[in-house]
Amino acid sequence: MQPSIFSCLASYVHYNMAAIVECGADSNTAENHMSLKKALSVASPLSLRIIAECSVTKARACDLILPHSAVSTPVFMPVGTQGTLKGITVDQLEGLGCQICLGNTYHLGMRPGPDLIEKANGLHGFMNWKRNLLTDSGGFQMVSLVELSEVTEEGVKFKSPYDGKEILLSPEKSISIQNSLGSDIMMQLDDVVSSTVTGPRVEEAMHRSIRWLDRCVAANKNPHKQNLFAIIQGGLNADLRKACLDEMTRRDVPGFAIGGLSGGEEKDDFWRMVTLSTDHLPREKPRYLMGVGYAVDLVVCVALGCDMFDCVFPTRTARFGSALVPWGSLQVKHKQYAKDFQPIDPDCQCPTCKRHSRAYLHALFKSDTAAMHHITIHNIAYQLNLMRSVRQSIVEGRFPEFIRTFMKRMFSSRDQYPSWAVDALASVNVTLE
């Protein structure tokens, strides 16, 4: 096939390959059809269609059908903590091709509060976002943001930073707030322990998270329109993770998140827990790796079999003038760009790179907040494009090649490759030369 024709037919080919994978006559696929049916029979408002699976790694490309629209995975989900994405309008976000973004239950539950959002027809209505939303349980923020929080079997107790009132976030309360927010995907309340903690507390948290999952499932008032994901816990202990996986996968939940990671643990431990989790998660359900968003982590964890990711980093770092590029990042505010008349990334097609130079953005940072918005747009475009390229390479059966090219561009030399990434990729049969 000639390259030019190939690029013209890319989307068509894409579709055909999907058909091939789905109709392929191996027993695995037939089995998958069966379990898909089973999943559909309980009428969860979600379906997952596997479009392609990498023949070398554990990566997969899927269409995740959610109540508001379809989502192409692997997917990066930008975080709109307080019902807005850092100075970007919902039209701009849609224009960048974002199909799903996050809202934070803790923040929104505090301000403007679940009752008001319910009156505004949920978070979709309140922020006027027409595509999908995922909300977290609020537990993580509570434990990380509120100093005086206490976890009991009942839930997480904390003092409101706004009025000092004592509040209990129970599994029921978290789901009730998320029901008011009306997100397409809700997260169970889990007992969050820092990933660097070891010992009996980790085991207690794992068992409690399972009990809380059952309470969350029972509390969901909208099982027909809101999906509830379980969160796999167990710290960095493989036996505990495995026990948690066994218990939770026995529940008929529409999807699973891998939790309790990316909290400062060693990367060697991190990837081993991720790959252990995907090894035991059902093939026909989506897998969401929480809090992961650095480009290298994304590419590696897709290879390990994860479908969904979120992280505040790309939007947070944008506000400090840090633009994400295929070779790492570019600090627009640094002096060296004051007279650099190229776009941030000459190959980037985002609205910022199509119009503005590094030098203009550098100067604009001194005059107006719009400079931040420009970088935020670029960074979201970067994350979404990265995932689109990853997906396309999976569909076209060249994901391992994609990884090698990606790593070469990201690091100046082979000895710069992080060893954990090299090991993780080797575990899924990708060797980096």
Partner: protein
């Protein structure tokens, strides 16, 4: 400067003063035009505050003239060589370069016989005519204001100081014009002369008369900004100056943006205004909501007026016009941080066609403001710019159809008249 290309075609002059027309022949190739009375597009370094190209272009009827103030960044522009428009990615606009940012404070006490000082992000920059003209050559605007000593706006400025400012400003203009005429780079670029004179009528007249003798394309009326004097005096001074100015050249008033003052000044013969006012309203978390509907359409009149608010105590008038701090709220806006908007699911202004009003509600804006979210500035800037542009269209319509009095009643609020109930 053989014959400026800018042509003001007046279609109507009411009572010898308020003028309706089109400013034609703008831009290097003369293809742009601007209706008057009209306003310029206020920017920070070529960017409308908070807005990117996507969000800016949700606005229709944007002014064709972009105002910038740039004394800093000369170095990078020199290196870039192709002028500011290209540097800032401004493709299809007329660029006007002013000396000061009308929304930024300009501390007095730094002007000398040969220099004026402007303020950038890095502090004070002292400009001589040579430096000022070198800057224009690197910026390469379509039109710029000549260097001027406008330090007469404080009350108690002595007659002597006012006279000196007029003399200096004329001397600066002559020097600027001399450099201009000998600069290849500035061919086809227009110069506006600056009229000074503080609050002294004779000095205003002298400044206008002398400036009008020079080959300028238009006039900036300086030293009359909000806070420097009351409107009655401002009106009187403007009327005296415009009498001395040629009919066919535009008059740009600096530092005045409040709707009531704009109305009075347009009535006195001003053609162009800067649009920093919507920006100031945005920065204090407020939304413009004053009524300017003069449409005879009974259907429209029967509905809620386009301004969702007609003086119901929803806005907070703050007393006397002249003494206001520029950052203080005016009676033309609502403060969305106010708790009363937390569960108000109406658009900022009913019937407003802007992106913000078409897509979002007051409750959401309230939430964005109390949580300090950046989107608040973006959405408010869109609405406030749209509302302000709408007001200028109404002003032109009013002059065209003899409805200035009606418009004034609408804008200033028919106190005790039509009221709007909450909920």
């Amino acid at each position: 400067m053989a014959g400026s290309r800018i042509k003001l075609e007046l279609s109507r002059v009411v009572q010898g003063k308020s003028r309706l027309g089109v400013l034609k022949g703008l831009g290097r190739t003369g293809q742009h035009s601007l209706e008057v009375p009209g306003c310029l597009l206020y920017t920070h370094f070529g960017t409308v505050p908070h807005l990117t190209q996507d969000t800016l272009h949700t606005l229709s009827n944007l002014s064709s003239v972009t105002q910038v103030t740039l004394a800093e960044h000369q170095e990078v522009l020199e290196e870039f060589k192709d002028g500011f428009k290209k540097f800032a990615g401004l493709h299809d606009t007329v660029l006007y370069c002013s000396l000061h940012d009308p929304a930024a404070p300009c501390p007095p006490g730094y002007t000398t016989n040969k220099t004026v000082s402007v303020w950038g992000s890095g502090g004070r920059i002292e400009l001589t005519v040579a430096k000022f003209m070198a800057l224009q050559k690197t910026v390469r605007p379509d039109w710029y204001q000549s260097m001027a000593d406008g330090e007469t706006w404080q009350s108690n400025t002595s007659r002597k100081r006012v006279r000196k400012s007029v003399d200096r400003t004329l001397a600066h203009l002559d020097e600027c014009l001399l450099v201009h005429q000998n600069s290849q780079e500035l061919q086809g670029v227009e110069v506006f002369g600056v009229v000074e004179g503080g609050d002294i009528l004779e000095e205003r007249v002298r400044s206008a008369r002398e400036t009008a003798k020079r080959p300028v394309a238009g006039f900036c009326l300086d030293g009359l900004q909000t806070g420097s004097m009351d409107q009655a005096l401002r009106t009187q001074l403007i009327a005296a100056m415009t009498k001395e100015l040629p009919e066919d050249k535009p008059r740009l008033l600096q530092g005045v943006g409040r709707p009531d003052e704009v109305l009075a000044c347009a009535e006195a013969g001003v053609d162009l205004f800067e649009s920093f006012f919507p920006f100031q309203v945005t920065e204090r978390g407020c939304a413009l909501c004053f009524n300017f509907d003069i449409s005879p359409d009974p259907e429209r009149a029967g509905r809620a007026p386009p301004a969702g608010v007609v003086n119901t105590g929803e806005t907070q008038p703050n007393g006397d016009v002249t003494l206001d701090d520029q950052t203080q709220m005016t009676s033309f806006e609502i403060n969305l941080k106010d708790k009363r908007y937390q569960d108000d699911f109406r658009p900022l202004v009913g019937g407003c066609g802007c992106y913000c009003c078409q897509n979002h509600q007051r409750a959401y804006l309230h939430h964005l403001l109390v949580t300090n979210e950046l989107l608040a500035g973006v959405l408010l800037m869109i609405h406030n710019t749209a509302h302000y542009n709408g007001f200028f269209s109404a002003l032109r319509e009013a002059i065209a159809n003899d409805k200035l009095d009606l418009l004034k009643r609408r804008v200033l609020g028919e106190r005790g008249g039509q009221t709007e109930r909450k909920e």
